[in-house]
Symmetry: C2
């Protein structure tokens, strides 16, 4: 393979026209989401308060392939297919014997993989007459993506942004507002949940779980409004499979197979998008190593308990079976705001329990070191979340053999995270080693099911 | 042409391997640069104090094609070839009958077209033993690009950044520093020129002309250091022709020819990179409209005088024949910092005098309106400089016929310009209509040649 083909570009007409749904292929069936009050499986009708019918159908679908509607394909084509890039300079810098590729989802309008699901979520809501979408955002990537998607389909959008990110990343709000959306720091006074939290703790910096509560409450209390989530749920992961489906074609075009697939995990959608399309091959015996990378300050996959828990702090969402640090867990304010979620996508947790995922956790300074090495070799500035994938990919690549292929997901750029890079350069980043007692305490508040 | 091909991607092995040099094809020969003291044509030896031999040769070359060295091609392939994109949503929004395309140079590591010349400039300096490069930067795009390029070739880099941009765009400095470079606000105390300006006016916000003086002085007073310029000079424009050469192939692949080529002009390098490769076709009688767009607050092409002037405020550079507002001209602090240069590239001015360029000037609020429309239709956030190209492209497209093709250069993204978009949303942008007396006064300081 010559240098001329280090950027593997899929022709536009090879872009997938269906998403992959892993549910029929899971070795054990997914544990159903439960009603937070009765602990009975939730019904589509209950979900219908905050989600449109078409997305609820996708959430529960047992169809392996789900067609992508034409207007969604048209919007995808504003930036897709995305390139798969051989990171030859990085390989040299770390003395890797293997090949390293990265799938570049930073080229989207929002600068991350998030528009892959924001666009269909906005589209399906629009087709069912919804006028406004509410959502939460951690690092700001998801809020930006949904704002972009809503501007594509002429919808209104209200974003509850975790306050620590709102303050650390002022540029995100400006971008969201320029798309035409409204953004509030969470906790806000606009919802019962937010106002209550502010009474208890006026200095509260928020969490993704809390922001979810606010956005859900907004949707549940307004007729023309539905709620959207940027990760965790099955249909979100399904939309993200376009990433892995493209990657599979791109590697095949070069006559290559992936040996290691690496991604960072917050709620799990970008990682799932990369690995799920390879699940059947892995189950069929192909030796494909799925490596999930998460912050040591919020180690849900590596140290969380696999049990039913709420998706949000205010216990408004259905109970989901997942690896959780407890819905009351308040992670330290690390710079990878998008990885500060107490749980993980149920589909990923199911695979984790089957022993199909190798999860690792890293300190943020080690991830920023990896990000800077990437910047100075490959030229591009990664998001702090993405730096966790780079760090894990480097670790994996150092041990991989000469004919192996390490593919990591470059989930987003760091152009709006430069304040974090400033703190990094100034040596102002803390590493948080989480005491087991913190986890134990938070888990005490989980329901006994 | 179906939607499937709205993103026209050139295969990696079709990337040009030579730059186009317009000098042999200019209808009238280029007026030579003159020694600032003697007013005699400068010799290569004189330029050798601040430039390496290979770049001086390119500056004066009469060869139509200049080969791109392999290490430069390898670095280009980190992001090139860049896509040519049909802006179908923008077409609809403005009711255009024609097709609108944009050549997307925002996908580079630095987020603009600037690395196209930063990479070869760093490379050629390195091959001649230079250890450190000095330069100025206006909006910060060029400083970022050169920092990226120096990191690719293991060189040190010192950037003098116009103070108004340094303060308006804090993220730029952080990015430059993360590449491993040093950045100083200009005027600085580090050079004789900067220190003198600060004594005269301690609150001086700087200008590109002044920052050039500082960077040139730095190079001239350090043996291991050479100077680099991000625009204006012939060799810079030559390196940028890869943009137009790719565009020509991309259009041809679709069976299309360009009717209107549009770009913004500060020093002129991005616009020149797009249009110069079409110069011979235009001179051969093909009807291709070259449209240059500049800020009304710094209207060098539309209101400047065509005469010899210094490239910098301190009169250290050779005299160049160009459209100039006077080297002492201090433009208003508009948000398109990269378009605040008192002159223009001599090659462009030569073509302007031949009547080959249609230059237009716009108020910044009109350009931000165009940028926001682009954001809300095509999804991507343009740099304030690029917004001038979008505004002009929209104007041209509204008048263009149904089979015509408008191609504009999307020179950079605006992810690091969100403070400007904040001011725009808040209604805090001023428009500056320049009084003729300001121009007349500044021109009085030009040499009489």
């Amino acid at each position: 393979m010559s240098n001329a083909h280090d950027r593997i570009i899929l022709p536009a007409d090879k872009m997938p026209t269906q998403w992959y749904n892993p549910q029929p292929d899971l070795p054990t069936p997914l544990a159903p989401p439960l009603d937070p009050e009765t602990h009975e499986p939730v019904t589509p009708d209950q979900l219908g308060v905050i989600f449109p019918t078409s997305l609820i159908e996708q959430e529960m679908s047992q169809d392996r392939w789900i067609p992508i509607p034409q207007p969604v394909l048209d919007a995808y084509r504003l930036w897709r297919p995305t390139p798969l890039i051989r990171a030859r300079n990085l390989e040299k810098a770390i003395g890797a014997k293997c090949r390293i590729f990265y799938k570049d989802e930073s080229v989207s309008p929002a600068g991350s993989h998030k528009p892959n699901t924001a666009v269909p979520q906005a589209y399906f809501n629009m087709t069912e007459g919804v006028k406004r979408l509410s959502t939460e955002t951690g690092a700001g990537q998801w809020g930006t993506a949904l704002s972009f998607a809503c501007s594509q389909f002429g919808m209104d959008c209200t974003v509850y942004m975790v306050k620590v990110s709102y303050e650390m990343k002022p540029y995100r709000q400006i971008l969201i507002r320029n798309y035409g959306s409204t953004v509030h720091p969470s906790p806000s006074e606009l919802t019962r949940t937010g106002a209550e939290m502010l009474r208890r703790d006026p200095g509260c910096k928020g969490s993704l779980g809390l922001a979810i509560s606010e956005a859900v409450e907004d949707a549940a209390t307004h007729d023309d409004t539905k709620y959207t989530l940027g990760s965790v749920l099955n249909h979100v992961l399904v939309h993200q499979t376009i990433v892995g489906l493209e990657t599979e074609q791109q590697l095949a075009e070069q006559g290559l197979k992936p040996d290691h697939l690496v991604g960072c995990v917050g709620g799990g959608s970008n990682f799932a998008g990369l690995v799920l399309p390879f699940l059947r091959r892995k189950l069929d015996g192909e030796n494909i190593h799925f490596v999930a990378s998460e912050p040591r300050a919020c180690p849900s996959l590596t140290r969380g308990e696999y049990r039913y828990d709420y998706g949000d702090m205010a216990r408004l969402t259905p109970l989901m079976k997942m690896h959780t640090l407890g819905h009351a867990f308040m992670p330290a304010p690390i710079h990878a705001g998008g990885l500060r979620y107490h749980g993980d996508a149920p589909i990923l947790c199911n695979l984790m329990e089957e022993g199909l995922i190798d999860a690792r956790s890293y300190f943020q300074t080690d991830c920023f070191d990896a990000a800077r090495l990437f910047l100075q070799t490959q030229g591009f500035l990664p998001a702090p979340e993405t730096s966790h994938a780079i760090k894990a990919a480097i670790d994996v690549a150092k041990e991989a053999g000469p004919d192996e292929n390490v593919v990591f997901l470059y989930s987003g750029h760091g152009m709006l995270d430069l304040a974090s890079y400033d703190a990094y350069l100034k040596g102002n980043l803390d590493n948080f080693e989480l005491p087991q007692s913190d986890i134990d305490n938070a888990l005490k508040e989980c329901p006994q099911i």
